[in-house]
Symmetry: C2
Subunit: 464 residues, 2 copies
Amino acid sequence: MADGTVKRPKFRGRLLMVGFGSIGQRVLPLLLRHIDIAPGQITIVNAHGDGGGTAQGFGVALQVCTITQDNLADVLAPLLSDGDFLINLSVDVSSTALMAWCRERGALYLDTCTEPWARRPADAQSAPDRCTNYARREAVLALRTPGRESPTAVSTHGANPGLVSHFVKQALLDVARATGTRPVAPVDREGWACLARDLGVRVIHIAERDTQASARHRGLGEFVNTWSVRGLVSEALQPAELGWGTHERHLPPDARRHADGCGAAIFLMRPGLATRVRSWTPLAGPQHGLLISHAEAISLADYLTLGCRQAPDYRPTVHYAYHPCDDAMLSLDDLAARSGRLQGCQRILGPEIDEGEDELGVLLMGHARNAYWYGSRLSIDQARECVPFNNATTLQVAASVMAGVVWAMTHPRRGVVEPEELPFDEVIAHCRPYLGQLYGKFTDWTPLRDRGALFDEVLDRTDP
Amino acid sequence: MADGTVKRPKFRGRLLMVGFGSIGQRVLPLLLRHIDIAPGQITIVNAHGDGGGTAQGFGVALQVCTITQDNLADVLAPLLSDGDFLINLSVDVSSTALMAWCRERGALYLDTCTEPWARRPADAQSAPDRCTNYARREAVLALRTPGRESPTAVSTHGANPGLVSHFVKQALLDVARATGTRPVAPVDREGWACLARDLGVRVIHIAERDTQASARHRGLGEFVNTWSVRGLVSEALQPAELGWGTHERHLPPDARRHADGCGAAIFLMRPGLATRVRSWTPLAGPQHGLLISHAEAISLADYLTLGCRQAPDYRPTVHYAYHPCDDAMLSLDDLAARSGRLQGCQRILGPEIDEGEDELGVLLMGHARNAYWYGSRLSIDQARECVPFNNATTLQVAASVMAGVVWAMTHPRRGVVEPEELPFDEVIAHCRPYLGQLYGKFTDWTPLRDRGALFDEVLDRTDP
């Protein structure tokens, strides 16, 4: 399927979208393009009426309703049953609750992050470990039913988490090819982990630079972003988390390990928005990214682990290094100064973007060719040309959601799966028309003294 | 003189400006407005030809020449002698060398920061303590000739350092008035220090927010600022420095004390651009500022010290907390990611600024009314209306330079003086027409748990 000719599946059930914000509104036209489905089969449940016009324009019903623990069953029962599909693109609606409900009813499921029920701000202080993506992932994995078939539930399949896990596999093959190491694609998890180990990959950054900008200035007290403000704020205030490589010698002073679970990741006693790391993308060159907690940092590190959990033989360090658009970078800094109290005004950059691109990829470090970045460089103009009303960031996410939904529809009995368990070449091929320039680049850039990611940060704060 | 009626002095000597960049070009029209001097009496020596048209427009001669240790005497000798005036607004020309030369020749002198000779980037690494403003200030103070009159040399008299030292005195009086403590202005250094102590002032921030912005986006690899890029970069790469208060209980782990000198300040083993501190201005509310090293952090802390140097009874913590314009904030972050290697493209925002203001003031904390900010809030429109071709930042500096020059001309035999030794009310009155709204505001804002400045930073990096 790597030639890009993914079939347009016919879907006969009902499709329910929970959440219809900046991503949901951009996913809908892609679903209609790549799935043989009538608008009348689709229903949207959203916490507010925004996007009502968009839904109407596509002939899709939108129901305004905030889903809570109490009304979950009542709201979903009339809308979903055996063979139907739920796409969860909401905030404050528990992914595991929706997943469990879908499994009971025989419905398929996909989300782009593991969302909890709405939290109180104090939760992070009282039990930071429970606010980690690590803990949320463990709760998702606990829904698996080993030895028993169950409806497919794709966890965390947006651009990142999601697409970038496929990029990592492509990048591993590219590095293998360039260094004369085994050029054949592995067929299972152990194969990929062995390849990463044999290539000498020590650190993987999800390295992203968003340069989209608008001529309309960000006001004081305004939070500006190229995608969901609540989504970004929510993850930026979680403790910073990273997959913790076996080569790392010194645990950062504010790091904590988890008492149970896969053991592949640690978290820091500080939020991602206050954790800068040195990273690199072809567009930006060296840059400071934010080490914002993301599911792929944990699932990729776990996927690429060799040996037993207690004393693994090999695991790379994996984390996000995100430079959001300049306005968002400054908005996050102000948010930190406000101790996490969200700015009163919020704006998602859409039509007013007048230039820029989103370069989203993976940076594999430590191998014989030093470092290799592979990913998507998508300009605002390319994005708008592909699918109207998108910006570069939303289209990268929407394309991957579409590809994940199509895969789930054609593989409906796989149970709970993470991105690493989907066929990387098929998903990339399916998304390719929406990713602008999809390319790789070797670089001689290294963090100072070739240390691991956290020590970059420490070094960064000493005199240059 | 506090009513603003400062006389326009007649100056009969020659006036030499060394450096004619973003500040020099804005100072010139103010000098001609506030001093009875003919353009023919003024000469400019600049390292490049920029601003030649501006000089010509004012009928002032501009000589292109890079002053070095080797040619200093040759360049200055024909241009300066007894009773003349040198204004140093250059980079890479040693302030102490110019000061010493002027003293020998009987010429007056003023600068806005203590500049060293051009450095190699490696200098900061080899001897960080010598790159501090503390060390540079000690070298300036060593030029004093106790018991012997000498020509006035005003050290570090721009907006900050400079004007803000006068703001601190006004703010102390305002707080005294508001809390019913001695409402009469002290007459000497000890008097001011006692007032600060009696009011309970523990921490003084130079708290600035620059919101000026242009619709023209900052490019990748471009450094954008509202004043000299080289000036900002130079100080942002110096070790962070702060006047160290007697109430502080814990020295930060990367702090260093100085072996000799006044002992009023410490420095950190990291550059100012990588040192964020919580602060507050009326315009911004809570904000993260950069703890960039500045002369006033040391001179103010020293000036307000009571008791002996070895074991002082009272001293406030004093430091800069600077949020430059958004473009500069991002440029500095990229500069840090580039390990201090300056971006190839540089741009000073001038006519393309389409909105914003510069709010520059002092924030006095710890007294009975909690915290009090006093300073200048100047919009881009107000600045342009006052003096064409200015922005808010350059005009605040230029006004203070002008006021310092006028004071020196009318007090020509005071030797080496720091801003704290000039009459605060006279200088403020002289600058007032150029400062927009000059006002004070009490606030109940505190850094978390009311700790000193550095601990704010530490707290800031734990989970909010």
